[in-house]
Symmetry: C2
Amino acid sequence: MKIIEGGVCAAKGFSANGLWCGIRKNKTKKDLALIVCEVPCTAAAVYTANLVKGAPLIVNQAHLRDGRAQAVICNSGIANTCNADGIEVAEKMAELAGQALGLPAADVLVGSTGVIGQPLPVAPIAAALPELAAGLSADAAGSDRAEAAIMTTDTQPKSVAVAFELDGKVCHLGGIAKGSGMIHPNLATMLVYLTTDAAISAEMLQAALSEDVRHTFNMTSVDGDTSTNDNVILMASGLAGNTPVTAPGGDFDTFMRALNTVTVALCRMIAGDGEGATRLLECSVTGAADEAAAKKIAKAVICSSLVKAAMFGADANWGRVLCAIGYAGAPVDVSRVAVTFRSAAGEVLVCENGSGVAFSEEEAKAILLEKEIDIVIALGDGDASATAWGCDLTYDYVKINGDYRT
Amino acid sequence: MKIIEGGVCAAKGFSANGLWCGIRKNKTKKDLALIVCEVPCTAAAVYTANLVKGAPLIVNQAHLRDGRAQAVICNSGIANTCNADGIEVAEKMAELAGQALGLPAADVLVGSTGVIGQPLPVAPIAAALPELAAGLSADAAGSDRAEAAIMTTDTQPKSVAVAFELDGKVCHLGGIAKGSGMIHPNLATMLVYLTTDAAISAEMLQAALSEDVRHTFNMTSVDGDTSTNDNVILMASGLAGNTPVTAPGGDFDTFMRALNTVTVALCRMIAGDGEGATRLLECSVTGAADEAAAKKIAKAVICSSLVKAAMFGADANWGRVLCAIGYAGAPVDVSRVAVTFRSAAGEVLVCENGSGVAFSEEEAKAILLEKEIDIVIALGDGDASATAWGCDLTYDYVKINGDYRT
């Protein structure tokens, strides 16, 4: 498997574009993205667990009932959520994009991200679609324009792709993501668009995506708020020419590894670029009694405001890690817990058998001043493990969210 | 029922004191408190739900097995949690206090609050106990000194008391609390010491306290972190001379009302003085299908980092309230939800039937600039209700917790 360029356009058949259409006031920020495949794709998706679901998600659930899609249109600036006319507007977006591309509306998926509860105007989208469609390109530049258009408070674009082999054919799988705030297990304001040219049935595509998000996007938290508009979409064009994957087995496993490589990379980008973040946190738990316990503990640590604030201050306050382990809701023998902080600058054991051990504060500080920090927890209760991703809690998180709308 | 002075010394028989003994470096901050009754008391307590429990809590559980206590000794600065010798040290504190007061160690309860994982030295406590015991006084000044000694990052003392009548006799119930960070349902770094002179059996005292905390301390959150050292203790001297309350009925209900008046007041003080807080938030949910749903929703809203940050910015971003309702984990018909922001400056309806309604941003801003904000949620699903308390998320929360230990 090889990391390659191209993002959402790395897979054969896909092109993309992004531009400013006028939903945002700031003309220097793109706000409308289009991703299109030259052939119909099998498609799979996962949706936020929030009972309040953005209108685009309701429309996507209907459009994906046949496991088939060919394009995605997505705006940023306004979430199209909690609007009386939301579904109507989301359907209209699909219809307008379909008209511009010569596709049935039912094969177009829709995304929106931004402020909840503001009406989303259709006119700027309708007016911009001819230019948006005309500017589609099947290269990294097209993918980058689409990525720029779905970003909200993101400071960094998030894009990755891999090449891998199935059945002797070179396949590609890549994607773009937006993250930032409201990022929390099950899911987040994450919009993630993944494309592949591997041939794979809609059923196996959904199986792959559903299993993968359990370990990736559902283990990523920026601020504990589960957004209303999260949506991960995976489209497969089949243009790589491999024998279609229609059942579990070696090819499916290879596909899962490619998918996981891309999604873990995107999760790390999303967590590391959390609103106001200065540090990417990875919490790995080993020695848990079962996977559920490992996941609960990794998530609790990554979600703790106090752990997050301590990491912002590069303060090796491991007691807060123990505290989060204790309230995670998983049965754990606290007297066997060991905690290590690790980064590019080295590692330091701070707790063993549930109690503090002597360590150099200076050395710990140097380790925690790095940009990527691993909080490594060994439980000693069994063989299960899990990893979660998050970020530190900073002044800028408060600043960004203290007055987001104005 | 009447609010009175005196805090933890308002009830007959109780005296208190607090001083600096040397656990904290800063000599201007008291760090050791003592509360004593002149007669043995029936006593009840509730403890943190965290699996990592501070050593004092383990000792208190043992000392309270007989439902009886006569004194509390509590230090701030170090939590005596995750220390290999923690229980030994906590037992020693009870023993030393007992010696100074002429009481068996088993009738002394222990509390510690502060940094987790640092050894707690016994020597400064032993050295200070004679002076601490000699300075006990049965008045508001004594209560205030004890309160000052249990505070950590609290900026305001938290003390309240009421007078009420049972069986024709005037009774008193009062208490002191420390709050600030790690405040979260089930419970928090809350230490709350309550005293009463009502005569009430240990069994009914525990029943009253256990029922009350469900609606008060367990509905209060500052930062979502459930502390390791939370402990609410309620001691009853019986010196008011009423016929002892030994069963449910009118007198028990009266006692519950007195207790609830004191605990709600302390919860509001704790939430309003959350670390870095500039605003007290109260979220009241009505029209829920059942109490569990009402409680889940009220807690989810009060715990949302995004709602908290919006309140800091006085931003009427009600979409975040809807979002929190949606992920609270309670079944709710989102299309019936109404949300109102209310304060001393007025009230504004911002959402009805799950969608936004037109409102004046200027008027909303004026309402949200007040110190106490009510987020009023009407669900329309049934008759159950609940209230939760919290605070806004501010730069100072991050500052305080970014480098707490140094």
